[in-house]
């Protein structure tokens, strides 16, 4: 399966990744090869197979009690933020 340049650009757009023009043909080749490779899965007859929902048989995702357990650590957490002011994360203006 050969992906086109436009398809790669569309995937990158969906994934929120800016690609350099030189990267596009590289991913065109490798993603096409990967999709061919995973296409082998079609060989398996899965008509009567339920998809795996959890790697451990009989288990499912546990839910926690709906209780407030988090403490307010925003100052500590915001030490890692690129830009903050007055306890808020700053981003470029969204609404004109």
């Amino acid at each position: 399966m050969a992906l086109t340049r436009e398809q790669i650009e569309n995937i990158a757009d969906l994934a929120c990744l800016e690609l350099q023009p030189t990267e596009v043909p590289v991913y065109q080749t490798s993603l096409s090869a990967i999709l061919d490779f995973v296409g082998e899965l079609d060989r398996a007859d899965t008509a009567s197979v339920a998809p795996m929902a959890h790697p451990l048989p009989g288990l499912s995702q546990r839910l926690r009690p709906d209780a407030i357990t988090e403490q307010d650590h925003h100052e500590l957490y915001q030490e890692n933020a690129p830009q903050v002011a007055a306890g808020l994360y700053l981003v470029p203006k969204v609404i004109e």
């Binding site: 990744l17 990267e23 082998e40 899965l41 998809p51 790697p55 451990l56 500590l76 957490y77 030490e79």
Partner: protein
């Protein structure tokens, strides 16, 4: 202190500390010096936490003097840089997190700290654990201590190289498709990937949440047992953590192997297996037979589909997990973004390396509208078939034994141009992840690569068991290590 203290196992070091043969400060200084001396040739570490280590060692010595503390008090260890460590840079091998100082400890880190371990530093790794050669790290490749022209394997390449070169008696690691076992095999050390859910994933930076599991790289199975006992257990902070008692893995290490039923996976001895590796595996199997085990061939007909199934499931989950890196709350942010979308796209485009972007895009594609059923759903069905194959095999045998990798370590750069060639390194390891099974790799001898100096390159023996059979795997590995000395071999430059 004896000049060969660094060659002792973790269990021996813990005993030596308790017997006051040496102090934790002395031991910590020794390993820090070894790490620093090895950095130019191996690059096994991203951060060396000298000051914190010295302070922790002093505290450990006070505990030891007062006969307080836990099983690992004063023992120096390394953490893979995928585990969050409070107040210490946690990069996951990525430019994206080059500036990230974790505000909290991963559960595994907290548990080992509580057991008394002293952190020496953060081990290098493939970026976001995506790679099989440690060449995708933003901080440069790790080199194999047996031959620095070769890769150590990945993604826990720094952890495996560190233990192989005796820069630490234990390095924590993670395994999504083979990332503990494959580098352990290529570096000649013992790697343990526990059952999915056995060790908490809280604070372990997520790659593929239905596959990721934390484990250990050590010199011996006994050390792995000692550490797993401290690491395993229920954690309410991880929704996939299993609430089940942790057995004493040390207690059953020496159980005799008489009557043990070993399955030889037909699919593990296929045409891709290097003949010298196969010879070492067959020799190990012969030893098991001598020890009273019975061998029989079993077949997992769907196993050949494990790599394709993995390369749908893992990228799909990665594309979702890595969506959190947006340049807003933490991590890399691009310079002078024009608008919010530009901020997201350029921060991610600059912060992630080529392989991570490849997997995010593969995952985005297979999950995109119209393709979900054909790829993700299909892969999860095939995964069920593979899990059923394993379950059937474990109805007949106690453990499966075979090679960990098709070949010994390969040259740096040899497989970087073709992602699929690289992905096929994990052909024998991925099945255990897809089925959530525990598995180990232990050293079982050396293969003479063409023109390689010395005794050759390490070969790994893989042992896979049913869910929660870690005690059995450790027993099977330990009894082998009692009879052989492959696990004591250290590369000449680090002896």
């Amino acid at each position: 202190m004896s000049v060969t203290v660094h060659r002792r196992t973790l269990a021996q070091l813990a005993a030596g500390l308790r017997a006051k043969e040496f102090s934790s400060v002395e031991l910590t200084r020794l390993f820090l010096e070894r790490i620093e001396a090895s950095q130019p040739s191996l690059n096994a570490f991203i951060s060396i936490t000298r000051e914190q280590a010295q302070a922790a060692a002093q505290a450990a010595d006070r505990d030891l003097a007062a006969s307080r503390g836990g099983a690992l008090t004063g023992v120096p260890i390394a953490h893979k840089d995928i585990f969050c460590t409070a107040g210490v840079k946690t990069t996951c091998g990525s430019r994206m997190l080059d500036n990230f100082v974790s505000p909290y400890d991963a559960t595994l880190v907290a548990k080992l700290k509580a057991a008394g371990a002293v952190m020496l530093g953060k081990a290098n790794m493939d970026e976001f654990a995506m790679g099989s050669s440690n060449e995708t790290s933003y901080f440069g490749p790790v080199r194999n201590p047996w031959n620095t022209a070769l890769v150590p394997g990945g993604s826990s390449g720094g952890s495996a190289a560190a233990v192989a070169a005796r820069l630490a008696p234990l390095a924590t690691a993670t395994d999504t498709g083979g990332s503990i076992r494959q580098p352990a095999a290529l570096c000649g050390v013992t790697g343990l990937k526990p059952t999915y859910g056995r060790v908490s994933r809280y604070g372990m930076i997520a790659f593929a949440s239905s596959l990721d599991q934390a484990g250990t790289i050590t010199a011996t199975a006994e050390d792995a047992a000692l550490v797993l006992r401290e690491m395993a257990g229920f954690d309410p902070n991880d929704s996939t953590s299993v609430d089940r008692p942790v057995p004493d893995y040390m207690a059953s290490l020496n159980a005799p192997l008489t009557g043990l039923k070993i399955g030889l996976l037909k699919e593990f001895f296929d045409k891709g297996l290097d003949p010298q590796c196969e010879r070492r595996i067959r020799e190990a199997l012969a030893l098991y037979e001598k020890l009273g085990a019975q061998l029989r061939e079993v077949s997992l007909p769907n196993l050949p589909l494990s790599v394709p199934a993995y390369y749908v499931v893992a990228p799909a989950e990665c594309s979702s997990n890595l969506a959190r890196f947006d340049g807003v709350r933490f991590g890399h942010r691009c310079k002078e973004p024009r608008d919010l979308m530009d901020l997201f796209k350029r921060s991610r485009g600059e912060g992630f390396g080529a392989e991570v972007k490849r997997r995010i895009m593969t995952g985005t594609y297979v999950l995109s509208a119209g393709y979900y059923d054909a790829y993700y759903l299909k892969a999860q069905k095939v995964r069920q078939l593979i899990a059923a194959d394993f379950a059937r095999a474990f109805g007949e045998v106690d453990v499966l034994i075979g090679p960990t990798t098709p070949t010994p370590a390969f040259e740096i750069g040899a497989k970087t141009s073709d992602p699929i060639t690289m992905y096929l390194n994990d052909i024998y390891t991925i099945g255990a992840n897809l089925a959530g099974l525990p598995a180990m790799s232990i050293p079982c001898g050396f293969a003479m690569a063409q023109g390689s100096p010395g005794r050759g390159l390490p070969v790994g023996l893989q042992i896979v068991g049913p869910h929660f059979s870690e005690a059995k795997l450790l027993n099977v590995a330990h009894v082998y290590q009692r009879e052989t000395d492959w696990h004591t071999m250290v590369p000449e430059a680090y002896a």
